[in-house]
């Protein structure tokens, strides 16, 4: 292509040198310019198309939702369309969802910095408490929502390669030398904080011995080979071939299992934590005329149709009887929640800060 360009240019230069008689047109130059401007204009038209007058559909109302990483599919494919249909039947209005999905810590930081989120679904209540700390929320207002703001749950499980080549049966096996663990980063991922509670708490519940639990947590973290920004990013890393095991939400695995594309195997620990995901409404970002719509959406999240969608996508509903409809939920003999560890503020202080950050991290040299 470059060659032909050169050829043409030489020719056109020759024309120049000969001094084109007046009235004769340099067709090549003209063609090239026309093509260039046509391409530019069509590119501009393409970019502007949805905003051109006449092409715009009737004005739609919008809700801005920020969610933690693994919620992407269930919200985009399930909950949003369901609510859109519901709202249109009720009011005749179209609703558009403006959404962003990333690690729970990431979106919490973004909300603190001022992104216009009206509703946020956080992986853990701790991030909601941070919003109170930073005065984004006037107080623990999510506790007034159904189930104290807990939308759904999912236990933390171990994902291993097909055939379980490393013979992993429980969290304790992850501390064995030679096992490569892919772990999300607790700095930005809510899932990572749940995982730490699972790794420590499962041993604590079985043995009741803090020293043993510490050894298990330390052993697992010595084996961490990759840290990703969110639970979803960690799964992508694992799928791309990093490590031997991934500690993640059961939902992540079930979603793929239901679509017959899970290229790994689930190992259910004897005891593990059920993560509880918190819905937060952010009043300062909601204009008065939006209030009714946002409230309707939040109420819809706990409605039976919505909860059924969550179950279908592998989340465990807060309404226990709905969970029977998903046959893939595994059995966990001894599940626990963060309230068994004294609630998030205490668990954060005693386990994540004092044990993981101040004792485990220095020991593994990070």
């Amino acid at each position: 292509m470059v060659k032909s360009g050169k050829f043409f240019r030489k020719r056109s230069m020759r024309f120049h040198a000969q001094r084109l008689p007046y009235g004769l047109i340099n067709w090549h130059l003209l063609l090239r310019r026309t093509v260039f401007w046509l391409a530019l204009i069509s590119l501009g038209l393409y970019a502007l198309w949805p905003w051109l007058p006449g092409t715009q559909a009737a004005r739609t109302r919008t809700i801005v939702v920020y969610g933690f990483s693994i919620l992407g599919e269930v919200m985009n494919e399930g909950i949003f369309p369901a609510f859109q249909a519901d709202w249109e039947v009720q009011t005749g209005e179209k609703v558009e969802f403006i959404s962003s999905f990333a690690g729970s810590g990431t979106i919490t930081n973004q909300i603190i910095l001022g992104v216009p989120a009206e509703v946020a679904i956080l992986s853990l209540e701790l991030d909601a408490l941070r919003l109170v700390d930073k005065r984004v929320l006037p107080g623990s207002i999510w506790r007034d929502l159904p189930h104290a703001g807990v939308l759904n749950r999912t236990p933390f499980i171990i994902l291993v390669r097909l055939g379980n080549p490393k013979n992993i049966t429980d969290f304790a096996d992850l501390a064995q030398p030679g096992v490569g663990v892919v772990h999300p980063d607790p700095l930005t991922s809510g899932g990572a904080q749940w995982a730490i509670l699972a790794e420590y708490g499962s041993s604590l519940r079985r043995t009741g011995d803090e020293a043993v639990a510490f050894e298990q947590l330390l052993g697992i973290w010595k084996n961490v080979v990759a840290q990703a920004a969110s639970a979803r990013a960690a799964r992508t890393q694992f799928e791309n071939g990093f490590g031997d095991v991934l500690i993640t939400y059961e939902q992540e695995a079930l979603y793929d299992l239901a679509r017959a594309r899970l290229k790994a195997q689930i190992v259910y620990p004897h005891s593990t934590i059920l993560s509880e995901h918190t819905v937060v409404v952010i009043p300062k970002n909601i204009r008065p005329e939006q209030r009714e719509l946002v409230d309707a959406f939040v109420a819809f999240l706990w409605s039976e149709p919505a909860q059924r969608i969550f179950v279908e996508y592998g989340f465990r509903s807060t309404e226990e009887e709905l969970n029977a409809s998903n046959p893939n939920f595994g059995v966990i003999p001894e599940p626990f929640t963060v309230s068994n560890l004294g609630g998030w503020p205490q668990a954060k202080r005693q386990i994540i800060e004092t044990i993981w950050k101040e004792r485990v991290l220095p020991e593994i040299g990070r």
Binding site: M1, V2, G5, K6, R9, M13, F36, L43, G44, Y46, A47, L48, W49, P50, V64, S69, G72, E96, I98, S99, S100, F101, A102, Q110, L113, G114, V115, P116, A229, S230, R232, A233, R235, T236, E239
Partner: protein, 276 residues
């Protein structure tokens, strides 16, 4: 002009160095780029187009193009003006200003994003003053535009200022002596000489804006259908494990960059031929 063309005597000996270069470049540059297109083609055209017509993908591409157009437009004006002032006026602090306006080249784009947040964000120096007025540039298209203007500022300057510096001042002086105003001199003497530089500078700005990631990821809030640019979309989809979707947009972005680069190459070649 024919005399400038290098002799072909050494051609036979160039086989070895050229093959070494190719062997090095193949895994370093060519294969990664090719893999985007190979991967895009693997699922078939239907699934490729299917990934592209997703509303999010369409929005991301359009939004990126609009921001790139706006950035190119603003910086073409601002960059040319800056180049003109720095080149034609002598004043104290000119050297310092010259360094400052070129600074964005050296600053990591993530730092640009951070600095913008710390200025315009709700906790920022100016942002705190704007907040009570209900103005909030960050996490809106305005924030993205601000970031892109910052990051791409030096490209226009780099394309235009050298031409201005080289420009014979005799033409301008001649224009002044026959009574042309500063504006007339600029419009009819300087601007025509700048055409090539203006064009390539604008194109460079456009291309860089199209691919900007580091600063955008911080200031945009990454909202789909509102502030998500094409590179952010690719990153988000890739992180979410939707590699085909991410790759489809990546292929489009890569193709656009190739075309832009090709046009740029043509223009600069023509310029050097003209001046040389």
């Amino acid at each position: 002009m024919n005399a400038v063309i290098p002799t072909r005597a050494r051609r036979t000996t160039s086989l070895l160095p050229v093959s070494i270069l190719l062997v090095v470049l193949l895994p370093l540059l060519l294969m990664p780029l090719a893999s985007i297109f190979i991967f895009a083609g693997r699922g078939g055209l239907a699934s490729f187009l299917d990934a592209l017509i997703q509303p999010d993908a369409q929005f991301a591409l359009r939004f990126s193009l609009l921001i790139a157009f706006a950035t190119a437009l603003v910086n073409a004006g601002l960059g040319t003006y800056t180049a003109y002032v720095l080149s034609k006026y002598r004043f104290r602090g000119r050297e310092a200003l010259n360094v400052i306006v070129n600074l964005p080249v050296a600053i990591p784009t993530v730092v640009v994003g951070t600095s913008l947040l710390l200025l315009w964000g709700p906790i920022g120096l100016l942002g705190q003053l704007l907040e009570p007025l209900g103005l909030q540039p960050m996490f809106t298209p305005v924030g993205v535009l601000l970031a892109h203007l910052f990051v791409t500022f030096p490209y226009m300057l780099g394309a235009v200022k050298p031409v201005l510096d080289e420009l014979e001042s005799t033409y301008e002086e001649a224009a002044y002596t026959i009574g042309a105003s500063r504006w007339q001199t600029f419009r009819f003497v300087i601007l025509p000489a700048l055409r090539g530089g203006l064009f390539s500078g604008t194109l460079l700005t456009f291309a860089h804006s199209l691919g900007e990631f580091g600063a955008t990821v911080l200031v945009s809030g990454n909202l789909r259908l509102r502030t998500q640019t094409a590179p952010l979309y690719i990153f988000a989809q890739f992180e979410a494990g939707n590699i085909e979707t991410a790759n489809a947009v990546a292929a489009v972005l890569a193709t656009l960059s190739f075309v832009l680069f090709f046009v740029l190459l043509q223009v600069t070649q023509r310029q050097t031929e003209r001046t040389g």
